[in-house]
């Protein structure tokens, strides 16, 4: 199981991380990347590449939800 930890460089918002998961429990909110708005999508891509911190206030991502991309990524606090 891989994980991409994304520490915050500022304290404007709590930092998030994207954890690669193999399976999704039945009650988990799940979205495909095509459901993200353009700004969140940009931040999501950059976070996966390690180019940008993922801050809660910068996206519409929700803690605990899973985003379906080339892998399944669970959104969590760092």
């Amino acid at each position: 199981m891989a994980s991409s930890e994304l520490p915050s460089s500022e304290h404007a918002s709590r930092p998030l991380r994207l954890e690669c998961v193999e399976s999704i429990p039945a009650g988990t909110t799940t979205r495909h990347v095509d459901q993200l708005d353009t700004e969140t999508l940009d931040t999501f891509y950059a976070a996966l590449d390690g180019d940008r911190s993922l801050l809660e206030a910068d996206t519409d991502l929700e803690i605990g939800e899973v985003i379906v991309f080339t892998e399944y990524y669970r959104v969590d606090h760092v």
Binding site: G27, T30, H32, V33, D34, Q35, T38, Y45, F69
Partner: protein, 412 residues
């Protein structure tokens, strides 16, 4: 009290119902669907068919969602006709619903191949949650597959075969996958992705007929060259036929879809349309266009509802769509209208990175990104601004796109 009737409970119909309730709290709202379940996530059903995602996360609304918003939901209800003079919707059970404003959001149905045995057992089309359940169940037991339809829908079958361990041949009529939007360089990256999951692309092929056993189960596909491909599973995705049969005699203008303006209005008073079924006026493109993406359908439903509730042309649809393929190790994204344009620029950056931009009258109208999707928001911004940038394609093809490197826009 205004009565809004919405035919279709996909994302556009559901989005419209939610918006109408917000804009017109006192109105009567009725949603009619021929499916047996409320709105589900049509993007994620492919993950279910692959055997990776359980059913529960795919459901978006339960019936309680509609009750809480005082929206009447009629499941398993077929609309048989619409009388736009009397403003009445007729259903298969003989019910008549009078409406003040009507939204048509019935989408399409997969087109069947016009060849022998195309309705045999084991040949699947992929559109509804029910389709996904059947594909998942069958794919789990199948060994050898054939896929037909070299486009965005067909590749989902390749992913299903790959994930379910089905060795498959992907029969394509041309010399590459999605030849209308990809050059040989871009397509070859996708072909490698298919091969990596056990799906072999076969070019200059297609299907002349299917063969079956005595029980009517598919056993092979035969292509126009006479080549025979054994299979016990087949996936066909050659396009959608729009569900407009029930609208015959309603007076709606059609052109391979229902023609609407940028306010989602049809040519008939108080009848609107939204989602896949529309041929809408794209204000960025300056002509009628079609789009089947989730975001576009959701936004069209919202825009239609805003204008229905306002009873005027309150807000226009202006949207740059995008559609991702996330089945392989590398991501793929098409945006705008990548198959249109009078000029193109492209570059390959590595074995899994490629970019192509389509221009019309010097402006970006769409494109495809493979591998590195990071420029997507910049290209969408240029589309919304309608900047003439075709003569600066080199800047747009740099690995890191810096819009500040573009020459300042000319004063009009």
């Amino acid at each position: 009290m205004t009565h809004y009737v919405i035919i279709g409970d996909g994302i556009s119909g559901s989005s419209a119902a939610e918006t109408l309730r917000e804009k017109d709290p006192e109105a009567k709202i009725t949603v009619i669907t021929d499916e047996g379940e409320p709105l589900y996530n049509r993007i994620l059903i492919k993950e279910h068919a692959k055997g990776k995602l359980p059913e529960a996360p795919i459901s978006i609304h339960d019936e309680g969602w509609y009750e809480e918003r005082d929206i009447d939901l009629s499941l398993n209800t077929h609309v048989t006709s619409v009388d736009t003079d009397a403003r009445i919707v007729h259903t298969h059970e003989g019910d008549e619903l009078e409406y003040d404003k009507l939204l048509v959001a019935t989408g399409g149905t997969p087109t069947q191949l016009p060849v022998d045995n195309s309705d045999a057992d084991g040949i699947h089309h992929f559109w509804t949650f029910q389709d996904a359940r059947a594909i998942r169940e069958h794919a789990d037991q199948a060994d050898k597959g054939v896929i037909v339809g070299a486009g965005l829908l067909g590749i989902d079958f390749a992913a299903v075969c790959g994930a379910q361990g089905i060795e498959a041949d992907y029969l394509m009529r041309g010399d590459r996958w999605w030849r209308y939007a990809l050059s040989a360089d871009g397509a070859e990256i996708m072909h490698e992705g298919m091969r990596d999951v056990g799906v072999e692309p076969v070019f200059d092929s297609g299907v002349d007929r299917f063969e079956t056993d005595d029980d009517g189960h598919v056993t092979a596909a035969v292509d126009p060259n006479g080549e025979r491909y054994d299979c016990d599973f087949a996936g066909v995705a050659i396009g959608l036929t729009f569900n407009t049969e029930y609208l015959q005699g309603a007076g709606l203008e059609e052109d391979n879809g229902i023609v609407v303006d940028e306010y989602m209005q049809t040519n008939v008073d108080d009848v609107y349309a939204a989602g896949d079924i529309t041929r809408f006026y794209d204000v960025l493109l300056g002509e009628q266009a079609q789009n089947g993406s989730w975001g576009s359908a959701k936004e069209q439903g919202r825009i239609a509802a805003v204008n229905m509730a306002a009873d005027e042309e309150a807000e226009a649809f202006e949207w740059v769509s995008s559609y991702s393929i996330t089945h392989f190790d590398f991501p793929f994204l098409s945006f705008g209208h990548p198959t249109l344009g009078d000029e193109h620029a492209e570059r390959k950056y590595s074995d899994t990175e490629w970019r192509r931009i389509a221009f019309k009258d010097g402006k970006i109208v769409g494109g495809v990104l493979i591998g590195d999707l990071s420029p997507q928001s910049k290209f969408k911004q240029l589309m919304r601004e309608q900047r003439e940038v075709a003569d600066q394609a080199e800047v747009l093809l740099e690995q890191e796109v810096d819009l500040d490197e573009l020459a300042a826009p000319q004063e009009q």
